[in-house]
C-alpha cells in the first residue's frame, strides 16, 4: 500500500514534468476548463433564478447540490482520461502487454499513466459555489462539515471511477468500439439534482443500479441537513467500497480473459 502511494506520487510527477514542458498549453487548458465550468454555474443561476423552487428545493439548495457535485466529478476527470482510450490504445494497439510486464497492478497503471490536471480547477469552483450557497442558506458550515464534505467527495469519486472502470472492462471481452461510456457519462449529471424530480424507476436506478445518486445527491442532502435522507448517508462508504470491490474483481477477471484469448 505504501509502495503504491509513493508510486502514485512518482507517476504524477512524471506526468507533471511532461505537462510543464508545455506551460502555455497547460495554462490555456486550465483557463478554458474554468470558463466552461463557470458557464455551467451561470446557466444554473439563470435557470433556477427564474424557477425559485423545484419541488420543495429552494434556489440556494439547488446551487449547493450543483456545487458539491462538481467536486467528485472534478477528481474523477483528473484520473479518468485513460479509460476512454483503453480499448483502442491498450487493447487494440497492444500496449496492454507492456502494462502486464511491469510488477505493478495493471489497473493502477492504467488509471495513473495519464492525468488531466486542469480538471482539478473545477473542484475549486465547486468549493466556492458550496461556500456561497451555504452562506445564503444560513447553514452553520464549520470545519467538521468541510471534513465530512471532503470524505463524501472522496467516496463519490470512488463511485465514479469504479463505475467507469467496470465499463472499461468491457474492452477485455469485446473489441467493438461503440462505447457505452458517453451515455453513462451524461447520466452523471442526473445525480446533481434532487432525485425526487425523477420517476420512481429512475430514482431506484440512480440509487441502486448505477449509484450516481450516492456520489452527489445523498451526501449533499445530508450536508444540507435534510432529515428525510438521513438513512442514506451512512451507506455512502459501503456503496463506495462495494463499487470499488466489484470493479477490481471484474478487472481481474478481464485480465484473466485477456491472458487466455490474447485479444
Amino acid at each position: 500500500m505504501r509502495r503504491y502511494l509513493s508510486l502514485l506520487v512518482e507517476y504524477f510527477l512524471q506526468y507533471a514534468k511532461v505537462r510543464l514542458a508545455y506551460k502555455g498549453d497547460f495554462l490555456i487548458s486550465v483557463f478554458t476548463t474554468l470558463v466552461a465550468t463557470g458557464l455551467g454555474v451561470v446557466v444554473v443561476l439563470l435557470l433556477f433564478g427564474r424557477v425559485p423552487r423545484l419541488m420543495d428545493w429552494g434556489f440556494y439548495e439547488i446551487l449547493f447540490l450543483y456545487g458539491f457535485g462538481l467536486i467528485p466529478m472534478a477528481l474523477f476527470n483528473v484520473v479518468s482520461i485513460n479509460l476512454y482510450y483503453f480499448g483502442d490504445r491498450y487493447i487494440v494497439q497492444g500496449n496492454f502487454d507492456r502494462i502486464l510486464l511491469r510488477p505493478i497492478h495493471s489497473m493502477f497503471q492504467i488509471l495513473f499513466e495519464q492525468f488531466r490536471l486542469e480538471s482539478a480547477a473545477d473542484a475549486a469552483v465547486g468549493v466556492f459555489v458550496v461556500a456561497y450557497a451555504a452562506r445564503h442558506l444560513g447553514l452553520d458550515f464549520g470545519p467538521l462539515d468541510w471534513l465530512v464534505l471532503a470524505f463524501a467527495a472522496l467516496c463519490g469519486f470512488v463511485i465514479y471511477v469504479s463505475i467507469f472502470l467496470m465499463l472499461t472492462t468491457v474492452s477485455f471481452w469485446m473489441e467493438d468500439r461503440v462505447g457505452v461510456m458517453p451515455p453513462v457519462y451524461n447520466m452523471m449529471a442526473f445525480g446533481r439534482y434532487p432525485l425526487k424530480i425523477y420517476n420512481v424507476f429512475l430514482q431506484f436506478f440512480l440509487s441502486w443500479i448505477i449509484p450516481f445518486g450516492f456520489a452527489t445527491f445523498y451526501p449533499a442532502a445530508h450536508l444540507l441537513r435534510r432529515a428525510e435522507y438521513r438513512l442514506y448517508f451512512p451507506l455512502l462508504p459501503v456503496v463506495a467500497l462495494a463499487c470499488a470491490g466489484l470493479a477490481v474483481a471484474l478487472w481481474n477477471r478481464g485480465v484473466r480473459n485477456y491472458s487466455s484469448t490474447g485479444s
Binding site: R3, S6, L7, E10, Y11, Q14, K17, V18, A21, G94, N95, D97, R98, L100, L101, R102, P103, I104, H105, R256, S259, S260, T261, G262
Partner: protein, 338 residues
C-alpha cells in the same frame, strides 16, 4: 532456479470468429457466431540453462511471439506448463515480472516526452532498485553503450539506434537473471547492430544473464547464440547448436571453377560427372553444384583438375540463410533433419 526456462508441452489455441460481411452479416454476427480454433503453439518443450543465449527463429506467424508471451506471463497456455525463474509466469505475474527484462525492438518502454533519465528514475522506483545499484548499473551500461550523453534528451528526439540502447539499459536496470529480446536489431544500421550485439555479449559475460531472442536477422544468431531453435506452424523443427544445424541440413555444395583459358571449356563440358549440375556463368567460369551426401568436394575437384586446366577453385558452403529459407519453405526438410 533464476535464469532457467522450462517449457513442457506448451500449447496455445486461439479462438477467432468468422465475421460475416455487410449489414445483414453484422446483425447475424450479434446472434450467431461461428468460431474457429487456431493452434498457434503446439506442444513446445525445451529447457534453457542459466547463462545460455538462445536464438528463437521462425517465419512470420510461426508462433514465436505467442511462445514469448506465454513465457513472459502475458498469455496463459491452453495446455502444458512453463516454469521460468522458478515461477509460473501468468499466475505469479507481479512477482515474476520483477525477475525478467523484456525488450521489444518495435516498441519502446520509455516515456516518450520526457528525458531518458526520468524514465530510468521511474523504473528504478517501480523495480525498487537502490540508488547505489542504480548508479553501478548505469556506469556499467555506459561503458559499452555510451548512453550518458543522451540521458537528458527526450526519447522522441533520439534516433532508433540511440533509443534501442536506452531501451536495453532500461530493461536491465534491475539486473534480471533473464532477458527476453523481441527483434532487438530490427531497423538498425550496421554500426548500431554491432553495438547492440556487443552489449548483449558483454552483459551475458559479466552477469551471466540468460537471453532468449527472436529475430529475423540470422547474423544476430551467428554472432550471439550457440543454440538455435526454429519454430514453424507452432512446432519446434530444430533445437540445437548452429553447427549442428549446418551438419544436419547442409545439403548442397558449390564449387566454382575458373578456367585458365576459354578453350578449356570444351574439356570441362565433356567430363562425365554423375549427378553434378554444371552451370556456365561466363566463358571462363563454371559452377558445379552437388549433394554433399553423394560426393565430396575433394573427389570432385580431383576429377576436374586431372582433365582440365584450372586456374582457381572456390568452394562455397550453403549459407545459413539459405538453409533456413529451405526449412521455412519446404516441409520435407523436417524429415531430412531427423
Amino acid at each position: 532456479m533464476p535464469g532457467e526456462v522450462q517449457a513442457e508441452g506448451l500449447t496455445k489455441d486461439f479462438r477467432t470468429f468468422q465475421r460475416k460481411e455487410g449489414i445483414r452479416g453484422a446483425i447475424e454476427n450479434l446472434f450467431v457466431r461461428q468460431y474457429q480454433t487456431v493452434r498457434a503453439v503446439d506442444k513446445v518443450s525445451f529447457r534453457i540453462q542459466p547463462g545460455e543465449m538462445v536464438g528463437y527463429i521462425g517465419p512470420n506467424g510461426a508462433g514465436k511471439s505467442t511462445t514469448v508471451k506465454m513465457l513472459t506471463g502475458i498469455l496463459a497456455p491452453t495446455e502444458g506448463t512453463a516454469l521460468v525463474n522458478g515461477f509460473v509466469p501468468y499466475r505469479d505475474r507481479t512477482r515474476y515480472t520483477r525477475t525478467i527484462g523484456v525488450v521489444f525492438g518495435q516498441r519502446t518502454q520509455l516515456w516518450w516526452d520526457i528525458a531518458v533519465v526520468e524514465s530510468f528514475r521511474l523504473l528504478q522506483r517501480i523495480y525498487e532498485v537502490s540508488d547505489s545499484d542504480y548508479k553501478t548499473q548505469l556506469d556499467t551500461f555506459d561503458q559499452v553503450l555510451e548512453i550518458k550523453r543522451y540521458l537528458n534528451t527526450p526519447v522522441r528526439k533520439l534516433s532508433l539506434g540511440e533509443r534501442m540502447r536506452c531501451d536495453l539499459a532500461a530493461s536491465l536496470l534491475h539486473n534480471p537473471p533473464l532477458l527476453f529480446l523481441d527483434e532487438p536489431t530490427i531497423g538498425l544500421d550496421v554500426v548500431a547492430k554491432t553495438n547492440v550485439r556487443q552489449f548483449l555479449k558483454e552483459v551475458n559475460r559479466r552477469f551471466g544473464t540468460t537471453m532468449l531472442l527472436t529475430t529475423h536477422d540470422l547474423s544476430d544468431i551467428e554472432e550471439l547464440c550457440k543454440r538455435l531453435m526454429i519454430i514453424d506452424h507452432g512446432r519446434v523443427l530444430f533445437d540445437g547448436a548452429l553447427a549442428e544445424l549446418k551438419r544436419q541440413l547442409w545439403q548442397q555444395m558449390w564449387v566454382r571453377i575458373e578456367l585458365r583459358e576459354p578453350a578449356q571449356a570444351q574439356a570441362l563440358e565433356s567430363l562425365s560427372l554423375n549427378n553434378i549440375h554444371r552451370e556456365r556463368l561466363d566463358e571462363l567460369t563454371y559452377r558445379l553444384v552437388f549433394d554433399r551426401e553423394e560426393h565430396t568436394a575433394g573427389e570432385v575437384i580431383r576429377q576436374v583438375v586431372s582433365e582440365v586446366d584450372v586456374r582457381d577453385v572456390f568452394i562455397q558452403e550453403e549459407s545459413i540463410e539459405e538453409i533456413v529459407r529451405r526449412i521455412y519453405t519446404g516441409p520435407s526438410v523436417l524429415e531430412f533433419g531427423r
